[in-house]
Amino acid sequence: MSIKKPIWQHPFGYAESFIISFGILSVGFILEFILPKTQSTLVFPLNLILGISFFVLLVVSHFLFRKTKIHSFLSGIPLTIALVSSLSFLVILMGILPQVSSHKTGLIQQLGLNQMTSSYPFLMINVLLLIVLAFVSLRKTFPFKLKNWGFVCSHWGLWIVIFAGGLGSGDLRRLKMDVYENKIELQSYDENKKLYEMPLAIKLKDFLIDEFNPKLAIVENETGKLYEAQKPSMIMIEKGLHCDLQSWKIQVEEFYVASGRAGDRYYQLADFGAAPAAKVQAISPQNDTLQGWISCGSFNRPHESLKLNDQFSLVMTVPEPKRFSSVVTFYTPDGKKQDATLEVNKPVTVNGWKIYQLSYDDKMGRYSNKSILEVVRDPWQPYVYLGIFMMMIGAVYMFWKGRETIRE
């Protein structure tokens, strides 16, 4: 930019773009500061009507004003860069400050920095971005040239993702359901524990959990903290395991996944609450040999550790879940029944609701008879996905075409 043009004279460039973006951010923060905090979001059908009107307005104004200077500024790269920079600034704040609602009334809360996605500056920058993105995409789409297909895909894709994702957030329902074995549940609750009646009932027939073996670890007697002088500090127990843990040589002589103590030893047992236990031999660096049983216990059985010396003890950790699943039956209002197995990463869709395996009663571990499910309804999801797939096509195009062929 060798020729300096006075500011606020067309064509607008970077200076004007950044000043405008800064102004919008400032206005947004002022609004956030003075207006009362509301948690209202747009819900159906208001969001749909507003969205369609916005889109129609964009298209009409594009065709009316496409030859004007203001249009070329609004669809130009300087404003794009200024807006993306402003958005980055907001997102960086969001990436540093924890995004949790709080009842404190500091500056962070008053400026909405702890709930950025529902703050005025965030909203305003995004709306402006949508306008810019729509104008530039419309310009590249009409008249359509075949060589622009990658551009059209990626830009419209992003537009659809922001548009549908933003407008749809009010219609998104994410609720939880606690289901108990052999009981039918019809109610769900949100994060404020408010109850909702669901349009489907779920009966938990069986809750299955598959666990990894527990691990050996050495803890400090006084604090109970894990001793981690050397790695690995935890080793998974297996039958007949020989290993070095810190400076002790450990040998697992017997191991039961489910057992109970009777007299001076543990026996394999299938009782409710039976816990893992192992008979171990530990040889200290001074060649003293210790022997004893350790167990991580369960909700109804005590844990047991082996005292190695005044400072340290050998313990068994609580086993971690490998996979857990719920065998359920869904009942819908039209009288239909559907059996399914829910597992993490394997949700099932029933009657417009997607049902996820979320958690269980972790105090009870594998004896849990409660399964916690997440139920999600997101009617705008297909449109967001359309945008995502268009962006993916755009990304593949970008990979294949690279930079050279675009310029030279």
Partner: protein
């Protein structure tokens, strides 16, 4: 033991790739040896799959095996398109590193993996990110070189062209990584975008490179500012990669897998 044959794979792949490196000027032999080395890993994965009677995707060691397979495969595709020898051998080196880690830490083969990570999306999501980071790291090296040239010598046009190309490839992979992550998140915990700190920083990274691309497109003949943007974008990428865990927002992240005992 299923894994006892692993040393054979490690040896044959390293040997084949070493031959490829020595014969890197003989186009056909180089490609043949690289493909054969990759096939060895693929065959071992198939063998594991059959023996374990499940896809070998459960443990970290198994996942590393998949990286070791996909890295040279993607490296080869990239090479066929862009002819970057260094990128090809970089991917081979990275793949060998994963194989060696697997060989050195056999105890990790049975290590626990939380259920949320046991997904077919896990491998593509991470592999694509590894590639994005590799390209973008390389682009920032080029940027530093460009800045040096700008201030002390004359800027070579080729440097800018190389930086642009690397950013385009890296950005394409970064976008795919983000989008795969979004699709996976929907399957795993009900929403495609939850503003998790790692997601937030990945978005910032994405926006940073987006600024660079637009700036270059707009002002192809102005290099200094673009180079600074590129260098800065890499700092953000590093925050996203390593730094997120140390930020105050990280306490709510699902991407920090440090396990309490």
């Amino acid at each position: 033991m299923i894994w006892s044959n692993f040393i054979l794979v490690l040896l044959s792949s390293s040997l084949l790739w070493l031959l490829a490196l020595i014969l890197y000027k003989k186009e056909f032999l180089k490609r043949l040896f690289i493909v054969l080395g990759t096939v060895c890993i693929g065959a071992f994965i198939a063998f594991l799959w059959v023996k374990l009677e499940r896809p070998p995707l459960r443990t970290l060691g198994e996942t590393r095996l998949w990286y070791a397979f996909f890295l040279p495969a993607i490296g080869m595709i990239t090479y066929m398109r862009w002819r970057y020898n260094w990128m090809l051998f970089y991917s081979l080196g990275l793949s060998l590193l994963f194989l060696v880690i697997n060989y050195m830490h056999p105890e990790n083969f049975s290590k626990t993996l939380m259920p949320a990570l046991q997904s077919p999306w896990f491998v593509p999501h991470v592999v694509v990110y590894i590639f994005a980071y590799a390209f973008l790291a390389a682009s920032s090296l080029v940027a530093v070189r460009g800045l040096y040239q700008h201030y002390y010598q004359k800027l070579d046009r080729k440097v800018m062209l190389m930086a642009d190309n690397l950013v385009y490839l890296g950005f394409a992979f970064l976008s795919l990584g983000l989008l795969f992550g979004a699709l996976w998140a929907k399957e795993a915990w009900g929403h495609y975008w939850t503003w998790d700190p790692k997601e937030t920083w990945a978005l910032i990274t994405w926006l940073g490179y987006l600024i660079y691309i637009h700036r270059r497109h707009h002002m192809p003949n102005v290099s200094k500012s673009s180079l600074w943007i590129l260098a800065l974008a890499f700092v953000i990428l590093l925050v996203c990669w390593f730094g997120v865990n140390y930020l105050p927002s990280a306490q709510f992240s699902v991407h920090t897998y440090s396990q309490a005992p």
